[in-house]
Amino acid sequence: MDTLLLSRIQFGANISFHILFPTITIALGWMLLFFKLRFSATGDRKWMDAYMFWVKVFALSFAMGVVSGITMSFQFGTNWPGFMETVGNVAGPLLAYEIMTAFFLEAVFLGIMLFGASKVKSWVHTLATFLVAFGTTMSTFWIIVLNSWMHTPQGYELIDGVVHATNWFEIVFNPSMPYRFVHMMLASGLTVAFLIAGISALRMLWGDKGEDVKSALRVGIIAAAGLIPLQILAGDMHGLNTLEYQPAKVAAMEGNWETRSNVPLVLFAIPDQENRTNHFEISIPNGASYILKHKADGVVPGLNDFVEEDGTIMHPRVSAVFFSFRIMIGTGVAMLLLSWAGVVMLRKYGAGNMPKLPLIAFSAMSFSGWIATLAGWYTTEIGRQPWLVQGVLSTKDAVSDVPAGMVLSTLIGYLVIYASLIIAYMGVITYLARRATRGEPLTSRQYPRGGTTDVPVLQPGK
């Protein structure tokens, strides 16, 4: 394997590992704020118990996100120096704004959010929780702006092969940004909804009868059931947007080789890029034309349009995009079925008397959000190839000339660490759940609902 492919795999491995944790912290921050606000409003201790359990998961996920994110900022230079040299004038300010408006906000107030509950007034603690959640969302916004600009660049001019910004409004609000941002926020919401529902279901299976677990299960299921239709809608709109700006990606997602009307929706196939055809195809007639053009004889672009006359292939590797897309859709359908069935069960049995089967199903789906999120990102990112910035910079022109052996050995190092850390991470979350189930107290304090604290640290001199 050459440096280009190895660098792509290495960057893919690093960013895949990284995105797992922000996907959890973005929405979990808001969920924690919800728990805290419920506690402040009702004074019911179960909300604070739920907060105390999930804030530990948040702390762990946040730390994993920070350290894996540091890796990303170095990877631009170590593996892709051509990226910043060519588009640094656009990417630079966006990354700078992410660091300044989001990273510091999150990192500083995280300390107060985690360890400050008894050190500051209740409203200050709530405010810190809000600022951390807000920070993670700002961070999502800026990084999605940059990522979307790489898919649908505008508001720039090329001078001597280097991109110069001409219109920042156009850069920030580039055509795919709103769709991608909404899609990612909802993905995070779903990931957290299923994580909370799944871990709560696991605790119930282990015999936990706590009120906090019941409430968390209910919140998780209802959030999941509410978010999944929105996500399907957002995903569909995002797809139509991609059809307009990156038709080659959509052609690969659909496994469609020829531009034509009445294109079937391919449910399953083995795409064969060498012979430019599909094997073992199972499809619904006219399906893709309906979805993408809303009529049976709608014309859908095909992959063969993206092969230049000299045979250079200007579309992504079809099988990678094709299968990632189907994994994402499959997981989404499973989420839809389970969460709606879960709502029916909630109405019938209540959160406390759920039968075993749905509880097992929810536990099994605890980390399903990760699978859908990763598959979705693979679809869109591999789908952009051979471009790094669509139509501006190709991936092979950005890679560094570090020897392949060096990239390979560090790649193996990263993979070993990432694999063990993911195992440790999932292990610790289940361990925390088991410990909570055994009734070992998460906390011994009485919480003030507002106003007073038992350790008045914010008053100087005491």
């Binding site: 762990l60 360890f115 011994s444």
Partner: protein, 336 residues
Amino acid sequence: MDFFGDPAVWLPWTFASLMGLSILIYVVLDGFDLGVGLLMPLAEDDEKDRLVASIGPFWDANETWLVLAIGLLLVAFPPAHGLILTALYLPVFIMLVGLILRGVSFEMRAKAPIAQKPLWNGAFFAGSLMASLSQGFMLGMYVMGLTWTLPHVGFALLTAVFLTVGYSFIGAVWLIWKTDGALQLHSVRWAKGGMWGLILGIGSISLATPFVSTRIFDKWFSFPEILYLSPLPILSGVLVVFLWIQLRRMPFENDRYSWTPFAAATALFTLAYTGMAYSFYPYVVPDKLTIYESASAPESLFIILLGTLFVLPAIIGYTVLSYYIFRGKAMELRYD
């Protein structure tokens, strides 16, 4: 954009200063918390939790200064970012693995089953060690002009050891400030034991730098520059002597002056850093690429600067707030 003359001159200069400031803040802040990690194996088992508690609320934000520094290098001087980081590919990898291990074990040691705690304590130390050593190594390679020759690598290995011991020193003086009782006494001992790393580190880099490049030699040893610059080494010497005397007499009654060694160590780091910045200016890649040659387009830098002017004071403000809320001696860390 033309208020201070040519924006292609003052903007790169401003960003170089901002980046320099971020690196300095990072070295001091993450220096002390990496240092605390390095001291873990020396601490008794019942002291380890307090060691971690003394940096608990801060380390996330401390590491963010590294992201800001490397981010500023990335956004303001993109070609330099590529040149430096591809030259330092392997040490960067080791540092990143170290930082990952450290950050993760920080959380894991408190949440994993108790039987695993020694394992995560070990990972916490190993991560701190990898990060410190590789940062010291990169510092040495940078001073030597980023070329991989045997003498250069040898020098970088030395600075790796010195910076690591130097970090353990600033970690120890941080602990003197943030702890009391037996742990404070231990910290005084650790600080005395670690001082040589700081002195040798600053000394070796100060001596080596002028002899690597005649340009830097001339910047220091010509008249009248040598006169203006003399306060740097003199003040550093005074601080070293002060630290030495103070540490021998510590701790004082009622915990008085327990903050002074940390303040002196910070001042010492700052002086050494200022000297280095003076040596290398205007180069961002030593003797190869100046900040003016490698800067991004002025329009882009200006957009970032606008944001920085609003955001940086806020960052400093809430950082101070956080240190203020968690002031005083480090207690057990509690989520509730």
